[in-house]
């Protein structure tokens, strides 16, 4: 997992609330067997059916921050939703409120989900719509979001912040101290089942 310290990039305004995971990535894409390459799946229905959809607008091309209405990521717990956002190039999603499971999945995978008050998100949406070249800085060290003339603190627990700063996914964390596993394995009961591997 890549370390996340400070990220600055342009942003896409997604003025929709209750964006559920089925809209983020439709169920048909869950049949794939890879862990990457889901960028084409992201918001597939909207991109295919709405020519004016924000991701179809050239002026927002190459943005790396997604700004959305409240309750982003509701619905089924598919981890693919996070993968699709990251594969497309997003490093941060900003919303007034996230669905719990989606938020948990995103922070584990290294996609920073930032909660700001609804009226602040509204101003950010207005600003990036007025000027798509607006650069938004998400500073995890200071736990701050900054853009032209605006500075706002956001909350994130110390443990999650530290993991993201260090770029440690769950596996990386566990493997920092493999001696615990080694020593536990010494104490396992001798009769426990094991398969012969080739």
């Amino acid at each position: 997992m890549d370390k996340f310290t400070v990220h600055t990039g342009r942003a896409v305004p997604l003025r929709r609330s209750n964006v559920d995971t089925d809209q983020i990535i439709p169920a048909v894409y869950l049949k794939r067997v890879t862990r990457t390459g889901f960028e084409d799946a992201l918001f597939h229905a909207w991109r295919a059916n709405e020519p004016g959809f924000v991701l179809n607008q050239d002026r927002f091309a190459g943005a790396s921050v997604l700004v959305a209405g409240p309750d982003f990521g509701t619905g089924s717990s598919r981890e693919h939703a996070v993968w699709a956002l990251m594969d497309y190039g997003f490093r941060v999603v900003i919303s007034p409120r996230f669905a719990d499971i989606f938020r948990g999945n995103s922070l584990k995978a290294g996609l920073l989900t930032v909660m700001l008050a609804e009226k602040i998100v509204q101003r950010l949406l207005d600003d990036i719509e007025d000027d798509p070249s607006t650069e938004v800085t998400i500073d995890l060290i200071e736990r701050q979001v900054r853009w032209t003339g605006e500075v706002h603190d956001f909350e994130l627990d110390d443990y999650t912040r530290w993991r993201l700063l260090e770029g440690l996914d769950d596996i990386g964390l566990t493997l920092r101290a493999p001696e615990y596993i080694d020593s536990y394995e010494q104490s396992r009961k001798p009769w426990l089942p094991a398969l012969t591997t080739r």
């Binding site: 794939r32 890879t34 862990r35 089942p193 398969l195």
Partner: protein
């Protein structure tokens, strides 16, 4: 204060614990199937990681496999659906690359992941077991801590043989007394779910306690633990006893010789202490449980077979009322209809809930000397190739085909619409599986969850029925 069985299992697998962090738990056995594993293996490759303990990892093919192929068959040409075939082929490649034992379609050991673990003696008391599959709770029947996990957790276990987890709370389900004749484990668990609701067990490791469970066979206990997830429980378990030990003795991976004696001595300690306390308790009266069937679109929407389709207007909670209204609309049912009057097109006996040899024996017992109604298609699908072989040795397959039922190869089959065994839109089934969600058995299909005894009687009469109804008519 003493400890509950769940607490003993949890504490016995603590690799590391620190304040403010989740516990790191050791996993004794990791079961793998084709649906939830591909991205986990891909994740390992992307990060340049390996599988820590291939010897504690076992893979099988079950969800996507067709059940009507002819043996011998080890290729994948019988799988017509591209996605299904890709998933199976990917599993085969991953197992070869990471050196993991795999039982492919057509292998003597192949079968539904939750059926093969116990039958190989791989599922033992005191173990922790996980699988990227919500019905992993099945293995709790042996006094193991077993639960389903998501794909990123599958990757975590492959890489480290551990999982970081917050410790769930504990709950006891207490059922004492005697079950009436014809009342099975399936009826018991459906009654539990109807009482607690589908979210009643959320956040709990549940221990099923009381004489009803003590008197059950291992296979019946598996049926109960299997459906723990259907009322939201993190895991379900039953303390091991002589029934457990007798079942295990002599199985391929069970301990033997001096190991066996040491194991049994240890297994005897796996009980909830008399002075232990559960965070919550649910009690049911055994005598009040009768054959149970579902009428709605979640496993909690069930009622005794002798009852009728409920009237949504009778529900106090608005959310229950709305969900009942939606369920009746989807199921095409009218409030007040006696459940026995509901006609079905299809009867499915199988799945990790009721696809074991005892289930097939019970089904055969009822079917013997009868014919499946002309209007009904009956599928009988063994949970594993070993179950299939055993059934054929006992001549059960003959009873099934004589009655006009179809006898298949092992797999998940009609439990879920991922392989060719599916309901057509609007078709109605009586099914021994575990989920009656909309579209679970095929798009637009309507599912009534039942026990094998009810399934067999229903196949004969063409409407929901129990074996007792056959005698009357």
């Amino acid at each position: 204060m003493g400890k509950t069985l769940a607490e003993k299992l949890w504490e016995g697998h603590l690799v590391h614990t620190a304040p403010g962090e989740p516990d790191l738990i050791y996993i004794d056995m990791h079961l793998v199937h084709e649906v939830t594993s591909p991205q986990a293996f891909d994740g390992l490759r992307l990060a340049g990681r390996g599988v820590r303990r291939p010897d504690l990892t076992l893979a099988t093919e079950d969800h996507n496999t067709p059940t009507d192929y002819t043996l011998p068959l080890l290729g994948t040409s019988s799988i017509k659906d591209d996605v299904s075939r890709t998933q199976i082929e990917t599993l085969r490649r991953n197992c070869a690359e990471f050196n993991i034992e795999l039982y492919p379609m057509g292998d003597v050991e192949q079968g539904i992941v939750h059926v093969i673990g116990p039958q190989l003696g791989i599922t033992q008391p005191g173990m922790t077991m996980v699988c990227g599959d919500s019905h992993t709770s099945t293995h709790g029947a042996f006094g193991a801590l077993a639960f389903g996990i998501g794909t990123s957790q599958v990757e975590h276990v492959l890489a480290t043989q551990t999982l970081p987890l917050d410790r769930p709370k504990t709950m006891a389900v207490m059922i004492d007394g005697e079950l009436a004749p014809g009342v099975t484990a399936k009826d018991v668990i459906l009654a539990v779910i109807a009482q607690t609701g589908t979210g009643g067990g959320q956040g709990y490791m549940v221990e099923y306690r009381g004489s009803v469970f003590e008197q059950m066979s291992m296979e019946a206990r598996m049926t109960v633990c299997n459906m723990s997830i259907e009322w939201g429980a993190r895991a379900g378990m039953i303390a091991p006893d002589q029934v457990t030990f007798d079942y295990l003795k002599g199985r391929t991976h069970a301990p033997s010789g001096a190991d066996w004696d040491a194991a049994v001595e240890y297994w005897h300690t796996l009980r909830t202490d008399d002075d232990a306390e559960f965070d919550a308790e649910v009690t049911l009266d055994a005598a009040a449980i009768s054959p149970f069937v579902t009428w709605g679109t979640n496993p909690g929407q069930g009622a005794p077979l002798s009852g009728s389709v409920p009237d949504p207007a009778d529900y106090v909670e608005a959310s229950d009322r709305i969900s009942a209204e939606k369920a009746l609309a989807y199921m095409g049912l009218e409030a007040g209809t006696p459940l026995r009057d509901i006609k079905v097109d299809t009867v499915f006996v199988g799945s990790c809930t009721n696809g074991r040899i005892e289930d097939l024996r019970a089904t055969a017992e009822v079917l013997k000397g009868h014919k499946v109604a002309d209007s009904v298609r009956m599928l009988i699908v063994p949970g594993s190739m070993r179950v299939k072989a055993q059934a054929e040795e006992e001549g059960l397959d003959q009873v099934f085909t004589d009655a006009g039922a179809e006898w298949r190869q092992a797999g998940c089959s009609m439990c879920l619409g991922m392989n060719p065994d599916q309901l057509a839109p609007g078709e109605r089934s009586a099914s021994t599986s575990n989920r009656n969600f909309e579209g679970r058995q095929g798009k637009g299909g309507r599912t009534h969850l039942v026990s094998p005894l009810v399934a067999a009687a229903t196949a004969i009469t063409g409407h929901l029925a129990s074996p007792a109804d056959l005698v009357k008519s």
